[in-house]
Every structure is written in C-alpha cells, then in structure tokens.
C-alpha cells in the first residue's frame, strides 16, 4: 500500500489534506484531485474552505477538465468575492470556457460564454497581469465567431445561391466592421452579384451588373492593395465586356 492509497482510504481529513497539498505542489494534479474530491464537502463553511476550493478548481484546470474547472472557479468567485485569489479564479473560469470552445462549424454557446466572461474580467480588473492575455483570447474567440459567420455567408456563394449570399454577406459586413474577413466578404459579394447578374434574363443583366460594378468600386476603395484585387479586376473586365454586348 502506497502512502497515496493509505491517504485515500484514511478517515483523517488532515492527513488527506496534507497529502493532496503535496501532490498538488509536485504537479501530480490528477492524483490530488481524487483527494480534494473527498475533502471538499467536509470543509465547507470552514475557514480552510477558501484555499481548498481554489486548489480543487485549479486541479481540474490543470488536468484540462475545463468543464468542471469553469464551474468550480465560478463557484469560488461567488463564494469568496473578496478573496485575493478571486482575480485569478475569475480569469481561469473565463479561460476554461474559452478552452471548451469547439470547431467554428459547430454550436458556439461555449465560445460566447468564454467571450462574455473574459470581457467581464477585463472590465473588473483592467490593471490585472492577466489583462493582456485575456485581450488576446478575446481577439482569438471573436475571430472564430467572425469566421463562423463569414463561412456561413460564403457557403451560400458556394452552393450558388447568389442573392442569399449577398444578403448574408451584407449582414456580416455590418455586424463585424473590423473583421479580417471583411475584404473577402466584399469580394464574394461582388462575385455573387457578378454571377447572379450574368446569368439573369436579358433585361436584368445590365442593371445587375452595374450594381456589381458599384460593389467593385466599394471593394477597391476600402482595399486598394488587397489580396483579392487581381481577381476583382478580372471580374470588372469581364463585366465591362458583357455590358458592351448589352449596350
């Protein structure tokens, strides 16, 4: 029987506590977690609980069980709002939700929760040592949300539902003014209008392609040196060629 097994089976809370503490300190979080689980209920409401609950939550965090880590840190924050560890706990709670954020093509409830919590953290502790990291994470998560929205809108272009693509890209452009996908959104809007216009019935070709030319102007005004410039120029040339036949 190892010391650890003895501590696990022991009735002596003090012994468990000491063992859990030393395991935690030496980085053996998974083992310590088992002990914390046993200790936490019996210290509830006692002065030691503050430290124990934090370590318990952090052990979850260290073993990358972010689902429980987020929950336990949240509990710590609401139980000990004035603790000196509250700042760290609140940051790690937010971080846990951010870690749970799945692939951008799936439901983003966790991402949104992570974003909200990180923003709350920055608002509550603008001077914190974690603020810089938190802003970095916020940026990362919001780019993920933007990518999701952009990819969905672009998806309509891919399945050749051009008018739908234009509406969806318009929504995207107005929702995320500073997005890195902005240029691409403008470009795919132009391409959608171009495809839509050139495949329209005769009388509609001209007005629709003229609208596409306006979109070209918008794109090149915002992004004169953009990565889509060459492709856009090609489209413009093509439109002008088609319009000659309709004059």
């Amino acid at each position: 029987c190892s010391e650890y097994q003895k501590a696990l089976k022991s009735e002596d809370m003090g012994k468990k506590y000491a063992m859990a503490d030393s395991l935690y300190d030496s980085g053996k979080y998974r083992k310590s977690l088992k002990l914390w689980e046993q200790i936490v209920p019996s210290y509830r409401g006692k002065p030691q609980a503050e430290r124990i609950m934090f370590l318990y939550a952090d052990a979850h965090f260290q073993v990358e069980d972010y689902y429980l880590a987020g929950y336990q840190f949240d509990r710590f924050v609401s139980a000990y709002p004035d603790s000196e560890k509250t700042e760290e706990a609140q940051y790690k709670a937010a971080l846990s939700y951010a870690e749970l954020s799945p692939n951008y093509q799936l439901d983003q409830s966790e991402t949104q929760k992570g974003l909200d919590q990180l923003q709350q953290f920055i608002a509550a502790y603008p001077e914190s040592e974690y603020t810089e990291d938190a802003s970095e994470r916020i940026k990362e998560l919001s780019i993920k949300m933007q990518k999701k929205s952009y990819e969905i809108a672009k998806g309509w272009h891919k399945i050749m539902e051009y008018p739908t693509a234009i509406s969806a890209l318009d929504d995207f452009i107005s929702d995320y003014p500073g997005s890195p996908f902005r240029e691409a959104a403008f470009f795919y809007k132009l391409d959608s209008q171009y495809q839509y216009g050139s495949k329209s019935i005769n009388v509609l070709v001209r007005p629709r392609l003229e609208e596409a030319l306006e979109m070209y102007e918008t794109l090149t005004r915002y992004f004169p040196e953009g990565e889509y410039r060459a492709q856009a120029d090609e489209i413009k040339l093509d439109i002008e060629k088609i319009l000659e036949n309709y004059s």
Partner: protein, 838 residues
Amino acid sequence: QNDLPVSNGKQYEIGVISVVGAKQYNEQTVIAFTRLKSGDMVYLPGDRISNVIKKLWDLDLFSDINLYATINGDKVDLKFEIEEVPELNKVTITGIKEKKTKDIIKDNDLNKGTKVTENLITKTKYYIENKYKKEGYLNSKVTILTRPTTDTTDTQRVDMLVNVELSDRVKIQDIEFIGNEQISDAKLRKQMKNTKRKNLIRFWKRSKYISENYDEDKVAIVDKYKENGFRDARIVTDTLIHSGEDLITLKLSLEEGDKYYIGDIDFLGNTVYSDRELARQLGLEKGDVYNGVLLKERISKDGDPNADDLSNLYKNSGYLFSSINPVEVNVENDTIDFEIRITEGKLAYFDRITISGNDKTKDRVIYRNLRTRPGQRYSQAAVLQTTRELGQTGFFDPEQLNPQFLNANPYDGTIDINYALVEQGASQIELQGGYGGGGFVGTLGLSFNNFSIQNLFNKDAYQPLPMGDGQKFSLRAQASTYYQTYSASLTEPWLGGKKPVQLQLSFSHSIQYRYNFNGGNTARPDKDSRFLITGGSIGLAKRLEVPDNYFTISHAISFQHFDLRNYNVGLFTFGNGSSENLAYTVGISRNEGDVNPIFPRTGSKFSLTAKLTPPYSLWNGTDYKELADTRASLDPVADQTEISEIDQERFNWLEYYKVKFEGQWFTSLVGKLVLSSKVEFGFLGAYNNDRGIPPFDRFFLGGDGLGGYALDGREVIRLRGYPNQSVLPQDRVDNSSLDASDGATVFNKFEFELRYPITLKPSASIYALVFGEAGSSFDNFKDYNPFLMNRSAGAGVRIYMPAFGLLGIDFGYGFDPIPGTVGGPNGWETHFIIGQQF
C-alpha cells in the same frame, strides 16, 4: 457597493458584527457572505443593509432572519439572529398505498438533506391535493407536519409526516340541462368529452368529476351552440349537487338566444388578393348559418400551422405581419353583416438564419439544406418544410426540432429564425456471434450516419469518431468456416459541396466453400471447391427542381464478378467458370416525407427504376438460337458436360433488363392513427429470348422480406403470412422445368398497414400495427393475372432505438395455400423484422 440612504437614514461606522443561531454554517461564513466589514460605513436605514437581508433570504437556507442594530454614537454594532432551515431526515406518507408514495417523494424531491422550507411544504401539499383531484377524489385533505429529530450532528433535521385523507371518489350521476330547446340533452352531453355520466356500458372512461375538464367541457357546449348559429348562447348558472353518497349531479342552466345567419361579407384593406379570392378561401356564404367557431377557424385556426385558412394564405405569400379581424357591422333581425378588416402590413423577409445545438454536425451540412434563406421572402410553408427535412436527416431528434422566430420587425419587414436542434445518436452497431451450421459465425457491422470521411486521418476529430459531415459510412463483415463476406459503403450527399448531388460507393466481396462430409458427421470446409463474388457499384443521385423539388433522379453502374472453382450451385449448371454482371440502373423517385422518418404521418414516396445490362447478343456474333436448340436436344443427365459448356457461354456476361415501381402513401386518420398504403411491381426480361433470362436478380416473394445471405442478387419481397420466399408463381405447378430455387420474373404486391404510435421518444419509438396485404409472382408476363393473389392479414409491433435500428415482430395469417401445395390456407406465420423497412 453602492449604498443609498432610505428616507432620512444616517451614516454609521460598523463596529462589531455578530451572528447568533448559526449551527451548520459558522459565524464567519455568514459574515463573509454579507460582505460587511467592521469599519465600513453604512446608512441606517439604507439600501446596502436591506440588500444584505434580502440576499440572506434568497439563499433559502434560513427560516428566520432578524437584524439588531445597537447604535453607539457614530458607531453601530450589528447582530444577525438567524434560524437555519432544517434539513429533511425522513418522510412518512400515510393514507395512501406505498407504491404511490414513491412518485410523490420523487416529484417533490423529498430526499434526505432537502431543505424544509415553507415553500416546499406548500408545494408538496398542493401537488398531492391536485394529483388526487385529478383522479376524482374531490375533497381530499392533505396535512403536513414536521417534527425535529434528535440527530447526533449539529445539523437540525426534521421528520416530515404527510397524511393524505382521501375522500371518496366522486362520480357523476347525472348531467341536467335547463333552457335548451334547440339542441337536445344527449347532443350536449356528447360535447362534454371528459365529463361523463355514470354508465355501465361505457366502461373505458370513468365518470370522474375533474373541475378543469368540466370547465373545458362547458366551453365546448357553448361552442356547439356557436357552430349552429346561436351566437349569444351562454351558460347562465351551473350547480354541483351532492345527490347521494359519492355521487354528484351537475345542473347547467342555458340561455340559447336567437339563431343567426350570415349576411353580406365585405373585405376591407386587401390589395394582394381580390375580394373574390378571399371569399373563396373563406368558404362562407351569405345565407349560411352563422357559425362563430368555423368563422374563426377559417380566418385563423389556432394550433395548426398547415391550416388552409385566410391568415395562412397571407403568411405563405410573405405577409407575416398581416392581421385579419372580422367585425360585425350590422345586425338585422337574424342576419349579421360582416366586414373582414385586413391589415396586410409590410412584406416580410428572412434576415438572419441561425442554427443552435449542433454539437456534432457542421454548419454547412445543415445550412445547405435550409429552405429559409437570408433575404428571401417569408414563407411559413418553407419553415415547415425545412423543419421536416432537418428531421429526416436523422442527425437530430425530430420531436425536439424547434424553429424560433426572433426579432420580428414589422417596420423593416424582417424576421430572424433560429433552428434549435438537439443532436441524436446517428450510428448503429451490429455485433453477433454464434455457433451455427457446424461452425462459428460472427458478424460485425458498423454504420455511421453522420460520418466525416475527410477526417479519417485527423486524430483530433476522433471524439470518439470523426463525425459531422453528413456522410453515411458502413462496414460489415461476416465470417464462418464456410463463408466470408465483407462489404463497405459510403454515401456523400453533396459531392463537391456545390449541389445536392449524392455519390454512393459500395464494395463487397464474398467467398464460400463447399461442405465436405468425408470426415463422418462433422462437415469441414473444402478449400478446393469455392465460389467467389466480388462486386462494386458507383452511383450518383441528383435532386430535381422540376416538376417539384421532391424529385430525384439517380444513375448507377454496378459490376459483379462470379468465379466458380469446382463448385456446383443451383444457379449455374457449370462448376468451373465465371460470369460477369455489368449493369446500369436509372431511377426517378419522388419523396415527400414527414418530419419523423421513423413514424411518418403524412407524405408519399414513389420510385421507378430500370436496371439494364448492355445487349451483348446484338453484336457478339453468337448464334443463341442454335445454342438453345442444341441445349434442348441434349439429355440433361448424360450430356451434362455439354450443357455446362453451353450455359457458360450463355452466362459469361449476363444480359437482362429489369423495371420496378414502388409507391407508398401515408395518411393520418383519426387521432394518431396512420394508414400506410403501398404498391409494388417488378418485371425482369431478356433482350434475346433465345439467350433467355439469367437466373440472377430475380424476385422472391413471401415472408419477412429480409435480404439475408444471397449470392444471386435476388430481390426478396415481403409478404407476411407465408414462409420466406415461398410464394412462387402459381402456374409453375404445371411447368416442371423450374423449381423453388428459381425466382420469378414478374411480381406485384399491395399492402395496407394501420399504425398507432405507443411512444415516440428519442430513446425509443414504439408503434403497433395491423396489416392486410396481397401479392403474387409469375414466370411470364403472359401469365399475369391481377386477381390471382396470395392474401394475408395480421398484426405486429415495431421498436426503434437509435443504437439498434428497427426491431419488430409480426404475426400474419395467410388466407391462401402456398403455390404448388394443395390444401387450405397457409395459416399463421411469425416474422421477426430487423433493420429499417417502410
């Protein structure tokens, strides 16, 4: 924390904070919770202090909280006197059967350790009283007492004593009506669906008195009058009289009023539809009896999004924000003139369309199927169709699909929709092992309905399997000492991601050895005699836009290679040789399904397919007539070698064509009862009659319809009430050249099935069914006789569980003899159904 003085509160500095009465929670914990510190400045009376008390109450942990403030100049000492809510130790329920107490404990969470608050006691009391009221115990009394226990810990615990005093169950002796001249007592009583008189014959529904039901039934009586033109009918009084022990009589006094008729109907405010169009849709005319209920339903029927009413006429053409109000403008004698006032509002367009709850399925797999798209004109029908199609994917629980309308904006004319989805298991596993046929037989089958083949080599995607790209992937292996079969198939519904073009790939390989009886009783596989089949197919299917978007056209090319070595099967007359089956299949189908693919309530399915092989005999120069003549002149026993050689030449490349039709309709009858009607036809023919129809791809009628293990591409057609594959062509009795191992070339089948759902939960869907069906098969189109049928009827049950697929059992009675046998009806047969069948 903000603190504001209340009225003329003064600010004090907090001195000592103390807590009295804390047992389970120590003093420090409570003080920490209040977030008050010695030295803080607070107003008395003030906002902060009242918030502290409110927060303590909100915890639901204390049954009493008092705050005493002792003012000492500028300082104040605070003393919280709290009484902790006791925890429940044990609950005893008396007065009812023990079995019933469990539900009460469960539904009210009366577990050890639950905080016994006033709220809990009241809630429990109300719950029990209500429960028994619903069962007809009108005057039951519930008393709840709590008694502190002596517990070893500090925690204060109480025992709860619940006494239920059940009153006698009240039955309705009679329902009397006063003042009804136009509608008889009996008709009015019939309207009362859940409030019935005592009646010995009507034993299935009890004559309980439940006040909620009674209230509903009173509305139904008034509605009955309204339906008959009595617009002003009302119930003046209703009395409940105890007319004996456990018996009550309900007395309703009615005022019928006059009977009214519809006069002129004018439409106001309509620009989209003309008066005539609206009048036709409304379906009510001048001179009709004024039926208030029907009028309301024709304008807008609550609870039925598919209703053929005026408001849906507008909503399906984009006028989401329209409103329609009928107004009585003139009442002359018994005639009422109407104005139907229509506010059409702005045309509505979908703006943002979102999806939530897709924890596995990727956005694009869902979005590409949506029929409601940003910028499109609003259509209620499109929302319903989208919901239905999302359900049909099988990735989401169809019963929990929920389109949520958000941000309806009548000024801009926009609306957002969020489709809230709940993912459900879309994978099935089949694992079997057993001892049969003299050896071990094992089967492993895996089928994934929402697979992601592009993530097959991405280890991060294994959670536990790569999912979410909407592909179907299945693998199956079956092996015993005598045979092995392996198969794999993959379906990608959107090849290339641009258009809904479905790609289907499949591959299968099987090998069978001959039994060798040399070793006495136990047979061993003889590795020198084997039969090998390797095949594959590739198919494309495309959704059509014309004539409507339920149509699909499909193409497939399939190839099978048969290789025999020293192996004589009934199929071929040669034991050594090979045969190739290359065919092209083209099909057109229309599938207008229901939201729930397991238990469809509406919709229909049709498919027409043709399977064609190249007509080799046109160009390969072989004189099949001569071959046929030679074969006919040979002696089947003595000249076996020659016959084998001829047959090897006839079947080196199989040549045939096959046409099939299948149609199925689902109709919702009464309530949840659904009727499924189905017809099937099939015909297999040869281009060159001298070459003949090969023994492959034939139809076998009878039994459970499960494919099972077949080498010859046979099609097994279900016909319950008869043994598997037993219903041979009738005329074969006189034609001895063919036997039971030869399938038919023509068949037809008709089936009616009544289905009733028992439960449609995501964990398991169960339904019961009764069926009547009839079918027959023929060797030749000339023999076809639609009246020569093998008929059967029976009943069964189906259970669908997402992890196992469909399981079922049917008992069928065959009314006709099995063809080729003499004697009466075939009688009862039991069929086990495994796997999806519709």
